[in-house]
Symmetry: C2
Subunit: 95 residues, 2 copies
Amino acid sequence: MSFAPLDPILHNQLRLAVVSLLVSLEEADFTFILEKTGATRGNLSVQITNLQEAGYVKVTKTFKDNYPNTKCQLTAKGVKAFEGYVKAIKEYLKT
Amino acid sequence: MSFAPLDPILHNQLRLAVVSLLVSLEEADFTFILEKTGATRGNLSVQITNLQEAGYVKVTKTFKDNYPNTKCQLTAKGVKAFEGYVKAIKEYLKT
DNA sequence: ATAATATAGTTTATATAATAAACAAGTCTA
DNA sequence: TAGACTTGTTTATTATATAAACTATATTAT
């Protein structure tokens, strides 16, 4: 038995939830993610930025009905990182 | 889809590895855990104390061949917490 | 005997990270 | 045009993780 390191970017509840959403949807905006995760706006803003800086998420800012609208989508790097994380943590979970 | 909160005690790489070991073995000493996890002694000492304070691990200190020997075993509370954590995080992992 | 090294941890100090609270910039509505 | 709402960002505080330093005892070599 061995314990592979867990990607610290993904080993965070909110960032993992965001990536988990995006891996299925492949596009979601700030408000949608906010509702699905139950996060605060401040925390979500920070964590989306972190995911962006890690190259896991691509962020596109536009306007929708006059309001700012932030769209997020997973990058290929993000998909790979998620898959790696899932594989790694499953080793910890099996009893 | 919803994202259940992840027990912050278990949502840590080293603590999760320790509990993962103990859930199978139901008894392991400090040095054994050290080898299996690859952690530093300092970090392991802190995290075992955290698990103990959370009531997830019972710690028994004795001497073995003249040296201090720290044995750890999961409590019932620890088992339940681990099961809950596994259930919760699996929701994040399924694509 | 005693100096050097090894064992088995604990404590402390620091750097990083998570999160709430405060702020900003614009929009809608009465 | 004042007040409330939307959609975020920035800042400040708290908490956490971890490495480094330390403690205490035991063993080995001289």
